[in-house]
Structures are given as structure tokens and as C-alpha cells.
């Protein structure tokens, strides 16, 4: 479904991503792991079209999306719940979802929103409150619901458990497990390595902008470089 080949991304003179290749198959959950500054978020933002790619190719569903504007990548079926959640704090929960529904035909949008409110009852309770007033965990739910609303083929989630209370971390991973059970394809960036490996099928470990290790989670669980990434995070 998603194929990244030899991706390079620079910020000015600094090369943040130096030749990363990875692929995500339909129905699979892939965890992108690594220490802070390893290039995980940059890789994700490059796939989403928000970071300019220096070289390499990104293919989504068989068509090249390298250099495509983020609007078109999202419309092609990539949902993004980015690092830091980035919900619109001054807008209500309803308005946050309204914007996410803007690219879906109106009747389908109503249906999708209804389904999501059943999955995230808390968002229904807080529907007309300003999103900035939600707790961290609730904001993460909103960020994921927003990414899911148009019915993406691929969901990219960046550090969903960061800064959350342990209980909320549990419900975030429960949610990811349920989404996986529903057949959602997910590319997950996560600093909580053991939890990420529980939910993922494949893992890709980045170090200094390069792939240090990749493979099925069963092979990764005991590996030295995973532990290194784990400790560094």
C-alpha cells in the first residue's frame, strides 16, 4: 500500500532522513521506532507531503506521491494524527470534526461522524466544547477521530501516547488494537517501544536518519538495537 524508497529529507544543511526505505502492506500495522531525533516524525511528515523530499520516492497505492501537496495525499486516502495532536484548540470538537469531514460527500460525512461518535463517546459528550479544554487523552482521541473521519486507507499516528497518564496510554493502545482488528492499515510512530511492538506486525528502527533494523516484531523483540532505541527514548 505504502512504499518508501531511499527517502532523504534535509532541513537546510542538516540531513534529518538519510535514505530510509520501508513499506506498509494493506491491513498491517507497522511501528516506526527510534530515539529522539532519529528522523521518525520527519519521515512521516515527508510521506504526508508537508516536508519537502530531497530525493527518493514515495508510492501510495501504486502511484507516486513524492512532491504531491499534502491536501492531495490526504484526499488520496492518508489520514494523519500528527505529533503533538495539533487539534484546533480555539474551535469546538464539532468544528474540528466538521473540517475533517470537508473532503467527504455530506451524507457519507454524517454517517462516518455518527460511527466515530459511537466509538469515541467522550467526543459526543464534549461535542460543543472548545477542543482546547479537553484533557490530553481526549485531545488524542479527537486527533485520531479527525484523521479517521474521511475513512482513510492508511492511518499515520505520531506519538499518540506521549505525555498521557498511564490509564490514557492503555486506552490509546486499546483503540489501536481495535482499529487493527477492524483491518485498518496503520503506520505508527511511538516512543513506548514495548507497547508499540505489542500492537504492530512489523517494526522499523531508525537511528540517525537511517534504518538500523527492520522486520517482523517477533524477530525484533529481543534485539540489541531495539533495546538501544528503547533506552535512548
Amino acid at each position: 500500500m505504502l512504499e518508501v524508497r531511499d527517502l532523504k529529507v534535509s532541513y537546510g544543511p542538516v540531513q534529518a532522513v538519510r535514505g530510509v526505505s520501508l513499506h506498509v502492506r494493506a491491513g498491517e500495522v507497522v511501528a516506526l521506532l527510534g530515539a529522539n531525533g532519529a528522523g521518525k516524525t520527519t519521515t512521516l511528515m515527508a510521506i504526508a507531503g508537508l516536508r519537502r523530499v530531497t530525493s527518493g520516492t514515495i508510492t501510495f497505492e501504486g502511484s507516486a506521491i513524492t512532491g504531491t501537496p499534502p491536501e492531495d495525499i490526504v484526499r488520496a486516502g492518508v489520514g494523519v494524527a500528527p505529533e503533538g495532536r495539533r487539534i484546533f484548540a480555539s474551535l469546538t470538537v464539532a468544528e474540528n470534526l466538521q473540517l475533517a469531514a470537508a473532503i467527504v460527500p455530506p451524507d457519507a460525512a454524517v454517517e462516518r461522524r455518527q460511527a466515530l461518535l459511537e466509538r469515541f463517546p467522550i467526543l459526543g459528550e464534549r461535542y460543543h466544547q472548545r477542543a482546547g479544554l479537553l484533557s490530553g487523552g481526549e485531545q488524542q482521541m479527537l486527533a485520531i477521530a479527525r484523521a479517521l473521519l474521511p475513512g482513510p486507507k492508511l492511518l499515520m499516528v505520531d506519538e499518540p501516547s506521549l505525555g498521557l497518564a498511564p490509564q490514557m496510554v492503555d486506552s490509546v493502545f486499546d483503540l489501536l488494537a481495535k482499529l487493527k482488528a477492524d483491518g485498518t492499515t496503520i503506520l505508527l510512530v511511538e516512543q513506548n517501544v514495548p507497547r508499540a511492538l505489542e500492537v504492530a506486525d512489523h517494526g522499523v528502527v531508525l537511528a540517525s536518519g537511517q534504518v538500523a533494523l527492520a522486520g517482523p516484531v517477533a524477530d525484533l523483540a529481543g534485539s540489541e538495537s531495539v533495546r538501544a532505541a528503547y533506552l535512548a527514548a
Binding site: 504526508a48 508537508l50 501537496p69 499534502p70 491536501e71 490526504v74 484526499r75 494523519v80 500528527p82 495539533r86 484546533f88 484548540a89 480555539s90 474551535l91 468544528e95 466538521q98 473540517l99 475533517a100 470537508a102 473532503i103 479527525r146 474521511p150
Partner: protein, 295 residues
């Protein structure tokens, strides 16, 4: 008493024009971080639109609609031709680009139309006065206050109720995230410019109707005051821009009306001193913008 009422009407009328212009500047600034120095020229285009329409025998109301229409077109074209290529550039780069656009247009008006003011004559029904008991109020002030309030109300409804309005508020907070939801950046920016053009066009129609003439530099002073209003209100804050516009208008009108004659030449200095005094107490402006800057 009646002087006070009359001056209050004048203050609302002038403040309303500043508020319309300041709001247009604030909408664009909040989304693309552009301080559009060429906003005054959008207003001037609107004024010439009214002039040309009237000169070719268009009825007054239709001519005013033409003025607003060409201002919208001018604002949208300005974005497409000059500012789109500069999207994401630093605030200073954008500001200097807008200086260039402003100067180009001014020279174009001076050489292409005329450096002298072009008279605009409006029917008596608009330029006359209304008598309310002891108090005489100019019809134009009443029209201008009404139109200003209606425009502000309409824009508020659009920003609150429509998806494009919600998107514009979201863009002010985090433009990249909005794009990650698939909402097209170009559409949002174009709409923001169209809204600022609409507001400048309404201001231009009121301004030219009050002045009775159009000239190449007509947009400069009102937009300068509108800049001051946006800073006073809180740069990037929409309610702040509107409030700032009314405050600047009020300070200007009341200082002119009630200051001793000897101080009259220093009117603008008085206005600016008052603004500085307010900013010393509230450096973020009257209603600070609530945005998270991610760049």
C-alpha cells in the same frame, strides 16, 4: 449634548471604516502572516470602480456594487499574482513584496488615470442630513454605520457557521494541520483575500461617498489608521481589529472636536500618543490573538 451625540455618530462612522479595513488586514495576516501594505490600493481600486461606473451612467447603487466587486477582484488577483509565489516567506519579505505592489499600483493610477482627484457626485438623498429633534445627523453617517455593522455581522456569521469560515479560523491557528485534513490551502487563502477585498470595497464606497472624490493616494491614510487599529487591537486578532478600529476612530473624532484649537495641528500626534499609552498598558493589544505559532 447634541454635539456629543453628533460627534459620537461621527466617531462610529469613521471608526467603522477603520474597523472594516483593519478586519481585512487581520484576516489576511492571521492566515498568511502578510501585513498587506497594498490594502490601501485595494480600497483605491474600489473607489475608481465607483467612479468609472458612475461616469458610464450606471445607477448609484449598482455603481457602489461595482466598486465592491472590483475591490474583491483586485484583492484576489493581488494574491494570485504577487503573494502566492511568496507563500511561507518571512514576514519581512512579505511586507516588502506588499510595498512593491502598493507602489506599482499607485504609479499605475497616477499615470493611467490621473494624479488629480476625480469628483464623484452622489444624489442629495445620500449627501443630505436627517433631523432628529435638536440633533442634525448626516444621512451618509447613518448609512455608513448601518453598512459597517451589517458587514461585520455577515462576516461573523460566515466565520461561525460555514465550513469555509471555520477553516479560516483553523488556518489562523495551524495552517499545516488544516492541509493535513485535506482542506486546500489555496482555496482558504483566496477566500481570505476575497473577504478582505470585500471589506475594503465597502470601506472604499463609504469613503468616496463621504469625500466626493477619488485620487490615487486615497487608500493611504485610512489604511494607515487601520494598521494602527490592528496593532492596538492585537495583531492577528479579528475582534481586536474591529475594536481597535472603533477606538482609533473615536480618539480621532473626539480629539478633533474637543481639543483646544491651538492643539488642532497635533491631532494625529494626540491619536498616536493615546495608542502608545494603551499599548504600554496592554502590549499584546486590546484583545490578543490566540494562536499557536508553529514556524
Amino acid at each position: 449634548m447634541d454635539t456629543l451625540v453628533q460627534q459620537t455618530v461621527n466617531a462610529l462612522s469613521l471608526g467603522g471604516i477603520y474597523a472594516l479595513l483593519a478586519l481585512g488586514l487581520a484576516i489576511v495576516f492571521s492566515i498568511v502572516r502578510l501585513i498587506n501594505f497594498a490594502h490601501g490600493e485595494i480600497m483605491t481600486v474600489g473607489g475608481y470602480g465607483v467612479f468609472v461606473a458612475l461616469a458610464t451612467g450606471t445607477p448609484v447603487l449598482a455603481a457602489m456594487a461595482v466598486g465592491v466587486g472590483v475591490a474583491i477582484v483586485a484583492a484576489v488577483l493581488m494574491e494570485r499574482v504577487a503573494f502566492r509565489a511568496m507563500r511561507g516567506a518571512s514576514v519581512v519579505t512579505l511586507l516588502i513584496t506588499s510595498f512593491a505592489v502598493s507602489e506599482l499600483l499607485k504609479v499605475l493610477f497616477q499615470n493611467g488615470i490621473s494624479a488629480r482627484p476625480k469628483p464623484i457626485s452622489l444624489p442629495q438623498t445620500i449627501t443630505g442630513t436627517i433631523q432628529v429633534g435638536e440633533i442634525t445627523i448626516s444621512t451618509m453617517s447613518v448609512i455608513s454605520i448601518t453598512v459597517t455593522l451589517l458587514s461585520l455581522l455577515a462576516l461573523t456569521i460566515v466565520l461561525r457557521r460555514t465550513t469555509m469560515g471555520v477553516a479560516m479560523r483553523a488556518a489562523a491557528e495551524d495552517f499545516d494541520m488544516l492541509r493535513l485534513l485535506g482542506v486546500r490551502a489555496n482555496t482558504v487563502v483566496m477566500t481570505a483575500f476575497a473577504a478582505s477585498g470585500l471589506l475594503a470595497g465597502v470601506a472604499a464606497v463609504i469613503w468616496t461617498a463621504q469625500r466626493g472624490s477619488v485620487d490615487p493616494l486615497m487608500g493611504f491614510f485610512p489604511v494607515l489608521k487601520a494598521f494602527i487599529s490592528t496593532v492596538l487591537g492585537g495583531l492577528g486578532s479579528l475582534p481586536g481589529a474591529v475594536l481597535g478600529g472603533f477606538v482609533v476612530g473615536a480618539i480621532e473624532v473626539f480629539s478633533q472636536a474637543f481639543l483646544p484649537t491651538a492643539l488642532a495641528p497635533y491631532r494625529d500626534a494626540v491619536v498616536l500618543t493615546a495608542v502608545i499609552a494603551i499599548l504600554l498598558v496592554r502590549p499584546e493589544g486590546l484583545i490578543p490573538a490566540a494562536q499557536t505559532d508553529r514556524s
